[in-house]
């Protein structure tokens, strides 16, 4: 099951907790991995940990020219991009009444526009290969909303609507486009929350715990696999039951 031998996967945000777990999961299934992120040191460390079949491809996703170049660099390094995982994301939280254009635009640029540009860059090769997997890492916030995150929620909801439309367009070429929507996952982002805040969150989660990056990665691995060939335009929720959709 879930054998990705011979497939090449590009993972953005691989310097973060969830991105690294996704890279490990895909690599463990046999894929060659392109590790992208802004911080090169953690990418190098992860590449060394993974050993062979790992390539470091640093990219600043807020720079459109760098984003446009990334798929080409990935093809040069790996020969193809069969699997794209748009995982990178940033937050610039603020209440809407105080949210600046910069806070809005930064989040939309990295979380949504960069993902769209990367999809554009990889679909050509996937169309020719008549096989491709695009997995967008969205968020429960994109479906339920969250105060202080109008920008983040808009970007994450945008990924879902964009992905469904793209899924229609490329389905006939054997390319699937899906989203994974994590809920509260243990990460540097959630570690910043106070115990009180974490406790309040967990009252909303039937499974009464935070999820792990590995549990998100397993969902991505499934959607990237040949076995998920009949699944497209879907959103796989990994949220401990906090939103049963």
């Amino acid at each position: 099951m879930f054998d990705l031998t011979g497939k090449a996967a590009l993972v953005t945000g691989a310097s973060g907790g969830i991105g690294a777990a996704i890279a490990r999961a895909l690599h463990g299934a046999g894929a060659t991995i392109g590790l992208s992120g802004t911080r090169e040191a953690p990418l190098q460390a992860l590449a060394e940990e993974l050993g062979e079949r790992a390539h470091v491809l640093p990219c600043n996703l807020s720079d459109p020219a760098a984003v446009a170049a990334l798929p080409k660099q990935a093809v040069e390094a790996m020969g193809a991009v069969d699997i794209l995982v748009n995982n990178a994301g940033i937050t610039r939280d603020n209440i809407f009444m105080r949210m600046s254009d910069d806070e809005w635009n930064d989040v939309l640029e990295v979380n949504l526009n960069a993902a769209v540009r990367l999809c554009r860059g990889v679909t050509r090769g996937m169309m020719k290969a008549r096989w491709g997997r695009i997995v967008n890492v969205s968020s429960v916030v994109g479906v339920m909303g969250n105060p202080g995150q109008t920008n983040y929620a808009a970007a994450k909801a945008g990924m879902i609507g964009f992905g469904k439309s793209l899924a229609y367009e490329v389905a006939s070429r054997g390319i699937t486009v899906n989203a994974v929507a994590p809920g509260f996952i243990t990460s540097p982002m959630t570690d910043k929350l106070s115990e009180e805040q974490q406790g309040a969150i967990l009252t909303q989660v039937p499974l009464a715990r935070m999820g792990s990056a590995e549990e998100v990665a397993a969902a991505v691995l499934y959607l990237a696999s040949p076995e998920a060939g009949y699944v497209t335009g879907s959103v796989l929720h990994v949220n401990g039951g906090m939103a049963m959709l």
């Binding site: 169309m127 020719k128 490329v170 006939s172």
Partner: protein
């Protein structure tokens, strides 16, 4: 028929699975040869590869027929 036309016809026949004699000067990829919009994108990709040229998106949109394709490629070479 020019060499370019022969090579373009071969690509169209292979990609769209149509009879060679249907691929006439004025044959529209979409209306006459059964292509969908993604097919037209793929045909342009195939032309770019076969002839080692770049076909920008705005030019690609003007390539509606077999004759359009041959004319564009001959001009681009």
């Amino acid at each position: 028929m020019s060499d370019v036309a022969d090579r373009v016809r071969k690509i169209v026949v292979e990609h769209l699975g149509v009879e060679e004699d249907k691929v006439t000067e004025n044959a529209s990829f979409i209306d006459d040869l059964g292509a969908d919009s993604l097919d037209t994108v793929e045909l342009v990709m195939a032309f770019e590869e076969e002839f080692g040229i770049e076909i920008p998106d705005d030019a690609a949109e003007t390539i509606q027929t077999f004759g359009d394709a041959v004319k564009f490629i001959e001009g681009a070479q």
